[in-house]
């Protein structure tokens, strides 16, 4: 009894000691940084967020931005752009990933081999190289706006992106068609080449990983389930749809969560191809204001929040759907 108390006291003591050491180290680093900033007369603090940005942003989701708006609004635009890219990439990569996983297990040899080649190729080439590739393909294979391809009336495909008609008002229903004027299309909604390349590259890359995870999940379902389903007279399609996939997809939620986190963080590579996401705009802000520490702190805080939110959401989803007593 006395020994147990001693061990616990020691444990608590060491915890407190560790906390103090980490706290002191943190305080030292921060004090050192502040001293250096003051000595070199580099501005510090978050006051710069209220200043006028002075630069334009190529595309923005939901918010409209002009150079007279503040740095804070510019970062908000960057954040919304990141959400748009990351959210859509996550959705597409899940759908494609499930398809790729199933294809790789298909009894059709050609389909299985193509899926294997897809996975091996895309998993092994660095993502930034893939993004440059898609960007080059999109900007170089489509014609200039004045010779844009028009597969459907109101849809225009050119090296400036895909221009689509958008809905201007709901009641009465008025559609805003893109019209070529002067330099570019105005009106309607334009999916820029930067956004398209990012979405394509990110989705296909993450789908390769998700495909493998889904395949592992499907293979982990008990052999007995297949036999029982076949003995019931279910066809292959029904077997997959009703028995195997519901079980397999429950198993894959934790590893797929990591892939979603990777996807959200990889969206920051947008800065290499010119898509104005959060990192790109924060970089410009850092360079214009000279305040590197505050800028990087903002980027880190935002990505940490996004990642924690995704993991929290996925973990609670996992709790709800996990099979009780299954080997998870």
């Amino acid at each position: 009894m006395a020994r147990q108390l001693d061990t616990r006291q020691r444990a608590v003591f060491y915890q407190i000691l560790l906390l103090v050491v980490v706290g002191l180290a943190g305080w030292y680093f921060i004090a050192n940084a502040v001293d250096n900033l003051l000595a070199r007369r580099i501005a510090s603090g978050f006051g710069f967020l209220r200043r006028e940005a002075g630069f334009e942003i190529g595309e923005s989701t939901l918010l409209s931005f002009s150079a007279a708006d503040s740095y804070l609004k510019a970062l908000a635009v960057g954040l919304l752009n990141t959400f748009r890219a990351a959210l859509l990439a996550v959705m597409f990569s899940t759908v494609i990933g499930i398809g790729v996983g199933l294809a790789r297990l298909s009894s059709n040899l050609l389909l299985a081999k193509i899926a294997s080649a897809y996975v091996e190729l895309l998993r092994n080439i660095p993502l930034v190289v893939q993004l440059f590739f898609w960007y080059a393909v999109i900007t170089e294979s489509f014609p200039a706006p004045d010779q844009a391809l028009s597969p459907l009336p109101g849809f225009f495909l050119s090296n400036r992106g895909l221009a689509l008609p958008s809905i201007a008002t709901w009641l009465p229903l008025q559609i805003d068609y893109p019209v070529l004027g002067g330099f570019n299309f105005s009106g309607g909604v334009v999916l820029s080449p930067e956004f398209s390349a990012l979405l394509l590259g990110l989705s296909l890359y993450t789908a390769a990983f998700i495909g493998e995870i889904v395949r592992a999940g499907i293979l982990a379902v008990d052999r007995g389930q297949y036999e029982a389903a076949q003995s019931q007279g279910l066809s292959q399609a029904q077997l997959m749809r009703l028995i195997i996939l519901p079980q397999a997809l429950r198993l894959v939620v934790p590893p797929v969560t990591s892939q979603y986190l990777n996807c959200a963080k990889n969206s920051s590579l947008a800065v290499a191809i010119g898509y104005p996401d959060l990192v790109s705009i924060a970089n410009t802000t850092i360079n214009q204001t000279g305040q590197a520490i505050e800028g990087i702190a903002i980027i880190m805080a935002v990505y940490l929040t996004i990642s924690l939110a995704i993991s929290e959401a996925m973990n609670s989803y996992n709790q709800r759907i996990a099979l009780r007593g299954a080997r998870t």
Binding site: L37, A39, R40, R41, I42, A43, G54, F55, E56, I57, G58, E59, S66, A67, A68, T139, E140, A144, N159, R160, G181, G182, F183, N184, S186, P193, E194, V271, A272, I273, G274, P276, S280, N283, T284, I286, N287, Q288, T289, G290, A292
Partner: protein, 338 residues
């Protein structure tokens, strides 16, 4: 005096002399210890800083770094170059990764006052312009409403562009790409209609990348002042003086008519101005803790400002313009070396 007092006085004198000698600043000291100067340059801008086919860096910004090395070490080759993008350049200098930033950087109030940096002078006066393809038939920048414009982030270019379009009530779509190579690709493959940067950069890009120079037109409007100059950190006045006077030495040499070819002859000159400049008379080098032949070494190994300009910028089609000497109608002016 007793022996003791004599010894103390001698010791004090020696100490004072040593103290006077070692009053060089931290950057010069660390450069001398390392044996080279770490120079921050552009990743590859023709005429300013670009590696040639043998991998040697060439350009007027590179020549400035070589001049500083010639002044400090007596050898213009004692330089290592760090290619920096527009976004990395200030952090690299602030953190000490480079000793001097010679990277066609525009001297602005915010950069001078808010970043803990000092601009030593101007080595090239420029302005911002626009380049479009000839087939667009655009004659003036005021006709660019709605255009997609390629620009690099973190530059005064980006800000001036937004200001110009706002003040002329026009709209544009920025295509913002960090790496110079990528942004040039985007313009030359037609991703954007217009490329904007300093006029010298437009001319350099057209000369090095365009399949046919006459297909691209540089519009007449110059929408801003862009004085480029080398930058150093706050807090090291000695280093600031060395870099500043290396730049002024090159300009003064051109004004005095001293070139790399005639500098040996000029060393024999009886003209007192030339004698002071080349160190044959007087002790000016010592004031900066440099060899008296610091300016001689600069001119001999790097050349004067005019020679540097003609070597790197004239072949691209850039004319001296306002970069001529003050007594020839331009803005290049060096304070007297006396």
């Amino acid at each position: 005096m007793t022996q003791g007092t004599q010894l103390t006085i001698n010791a004090l004198l020696v100490f004072l002399l040593l103290a006077a000698q070692s009053h060089a600043g931290p950057t010069a000291d660390s450069a001398l210890k390392k044996g080279f100067i770490q120079c921050g340059v552009n990743t590859g801008l023709a005429g300013f800083a670009q590696p040639d086919s043998k991998g040697e860096w060439r350009g007027i910004d590179v020549d400035l770094c070589r001049a500083v090395a010639a002044a400090l070490f007596g050898d213009a080759k004692k330089n290592r170059y760090t290619p920096l993008t527009a976004q990395q350049r200030f952090t690299a200098l602030q953190s000490g990764e480079v000793d001097v930033l010679s990277r066609n950087t525009t001297w602005t109030f915010a950069r001078d006052a808010g970043l803990g940096l000092n601009f030593v002078g101007v080595n090239f006066y420029d302005g911002q312009g626009f380049m479009v393809t000839k087939k667009r038939n655009v004659k003036s920048a005021k006709q660019l409403d709605g255009a997609a414009i390629c620009v690099q982030p973190g530059t005064t270019t980006e800000l001036n562009l937004a200001d110009y379009f706002r003040s002329n009530n026009m709209k544009f779509k920025p295509v913002v790409i960090e790496k110079l190579e990528e942004v040039l690709n985007a313009y030359f493959t037609g991703r954007c209609d217009v490329y904007t940067t300093d006029v010298s950069g437009l001319i350099a890009a057209r000369a090095s990348r365009a399949a046919n120079s006459s297909d691209h037109v540089i519009l007449p409007e110059v929408i801003s002042k862009e004085p480029f100059g080398p930058v150093v950190r706050h807090g090291d006045d000695h280093w600031f003086d060395i870099v500043r006077w290396s730049l002024f030495a090159m300009i003064e040499a051109e004004e005095l008519g001293i070139t790399a070819k005639n500098v040996d002859q000029q060393a024999q000159s009886a003209n007192p101005v030339v004698q002071r400049f080349l160190g044959t008379k007087g002790d000016f080098g010592k004031m900066l803790n440099l060899d008296n032949r610091w300016a001689f070494n600069i001119v001999k190994q790097v050349g004067n400002y005019g020679e540097s300009f003609e070597r790197h910028l004239t072949p691209l089609g850039l004319d001296r313009g306002i970069n001529k000497l003050w007594n020839k109608g331009g803005l290049m002016y060096a304070p007297p070396l006396r």
